[in-house]
Amino acid sequence: MTTPLLEVEDLGVAFTRKGEPDSVAVDGVSFDVQPGEVVGLVGESGCGKSVTSLAIMRLLPERGVRVSGSARMEGTDLLTLSDSAMREKRGRDLSMVFQDPLSSLNPVIEIGLQVTEVLKRHRGMKSDAARREAAELLERVGIPDPRRRLDSYPHQMSGGMRQRVMIAIALACRPRLLIADEPTTALDVTIQAQILELLKELVADSGTALVMITHDLGVVAGLCDRVNVLYGGRIVERAERHRLFAKPRHPYTYGLLGSIPRLDAPPGEDLNAIRGSVNDNLPWASACAFAPRCPRALEKCTEITPAPELVGGRFLRCHNPVPAEA
């Protein structure tokens, strides 16, 4: 195995408030990303996937947040880097695409300026060259008439186009790592497919590694090489995509896959939803957080924290996993 591009180890994020117990959002999360690989972080709302990405990008507020562990990119720990060194890296070495493309673009300045800003900042380009390059970038992400579009304002573009622009900006300096935080959630289904296809193509072309954060298993199925499933701030299962979809072992993963509506299901059949909500979680410290919602929960699930194990190339955190041959 080659040396990983990004190595997140024992990452923890807690929100602290005076007079109140810390609220732990991410707890001992470890995963790695190989150069050019597409890695998924999957889980429901509140499982800590966005906080993980913000922690790696160092975009969490400094006050009231405690970050522990490390996130090494090519040997440098991003979490202990100085602010100015981190500013140099952001946009150049690692970049991020956010969920809502409208609010992520500055509404009062033209698209062109927002693309050239990054080019000037990290690639030291002069105005004219940056503008030419910006038009090429917009063309590459499939924006028609890019030269004219440089003078458009964000509100004059459709949601899909704006997300294309965001992607163009994020990839403008050919970063080695791109974090995409639910980049298609705010878009409609047809546009979602286009954007995913575009992302897939671009990262494959440029050799950029992609961390895909999503709650949409369809996105994972079409895109990711390896998938991390998060629950309650911890990774409960990690496996290579085909293996995960073919044989989910953790009851949570199993439940997630089972809860997808199927067209070939007999009419009238109930959807297999996971019962309960994240509010039912137990603290990981002395139990499995998922136990109250788990159909396979044993007595010890509410008493002993399940230890992470490696089973046949698969990372698993469960006392009573779904049998492999089932």
Partner: protein, 307 residues
């Protein structure tokens, strides 16, 4: 001024087709607002009159005319007569010319005081909003102190500090009153910007702090401040007039200034009320004009109005 729903609908589609910036969009909505039109007309008239005052005024404002002075009695001040449309003032000068020329003083004081207040207010607001922490605390407590004193009282206190009251001291006093208002407003919207998605996105792209503040935060935060400036112009004019009225302005009796004219007219209220009436109406109209335009501007720039 009645716009049918269908018409409005059509223009909106046109807007989308031509593709307008936020500012141009606001301008279109401003033009459709009768309140804005009224305000703009008043202000335009006022500005035109003050620019061309020496040409509009038929006479020298500081010169007393024998034919007017002749008519002056302790209980009579001559009214309109050929060549003097508004008659005489208490000193036998042409009242109409004085009214016209006084508009210059008002515009000058109002604009200078507002602009100076705006500059310092914006400076403080940007510093507080961009740095936060103790810088913010320090600057905001300072503005709190200024804001805790009623604005006119503050202006009077500052103007009274001056050794020799003059136009400049009036401008400075009125400007200082405006500073905390602008500072606080800008700081508030800067803070809102700091947590906005596009600022986070710009940070995630490694944009420098200075560029984030100046390019991504200030332009998005300045809107309400510009609107406030229009409204503050109205208060600045009122405050300046009040200072003159109270004798804290330039006391030179030859100078034509609405607030001062109003103060001097007091003694002749029962002899010739028109001497008080016209300057008062002028002050009210101009202040009203700026207030109307400011309110309309606020509506036009309000993102919730963009539908």
């Amino acid at each position: 001024m009645v716009t049918t729903w269908a018409n409005r609908r059509r223009t909106r589609i046109d807007d989308l087709a031509t593709g307008r910036s936020l500012g141009a969009d606001a301008l279109v909505r401003l033009r459709r607002n009768p309140v804005a039109i009224v305000g703009a007309v008043i202000i335009a008239l006022f500005i035109l009159v003050s620019i061309f005052a020496p040409w509009i005024a038929p006479h020298d404002a500081s010169q007393a005319f024998p034919e007017l002075q002749e008519g002056l009695r302790p209980d009579v001040i001559p009214g309109a007569q050929p060549g003097f449309p508004l008659g005489s003032d208490q000193n036998g000068r042409d009242f109409f010319s004085r009214m016209i020329l006084a508009s210059r003083q008002t515009l000058l004081v109002g604009v200078f005081a507002t602009v100076i207040g705006l500059i310092f207010g914006v400076l403080i607001g940007v510093l507080a909003g961009a740095f936060g922490g103790w810088v913010d605390t320090l600057l905001m407590r300072f503005t709190d102190v200024l804001l805790s004193i009623p604005s006119l009282l503050l202006a009077i206190s500052i103007a009274a500090l001056a050794a020799r009251p003059s136009q400049t001291t009036v401008i400075i006093a009125v400007a200082i009153v405006g500073v905390p208002i602008f500072a606080r407003l800008l700081r508030g919207s800067m803070l809102a910007q700091r947590d906005s998605d596009h600022v986070t996105a710009a940070t995630a792209l490694g944009v420098k702090r200075r560029a984030i503040v100046l390019r991504h935060m200030v332009p998005n935060a300045i809107g309400p401040v510009i609107v406030q400036a229009t409204l503050t112009l109205a208060t600045a004019i009122l405050d300046a007039a009040a200072l003159s009225f109270l004798g804290l302005g330039d006391g030179d009796p030859a100078r034509a200034e609405w607030g001062l004219m109003l103060a001097n007219a007091q003694a002749y209220l029962d002899v010739r009320p028109a001497l008080a009436f016209y300057p008062a109406i002028a002050i009210i109209l101009v202040a009203l004009g700026f207030t109307l335009l400011g309110e309309a501007l606020r509506e036009a720039l309000d993102p919730k109005g963009r539908r």
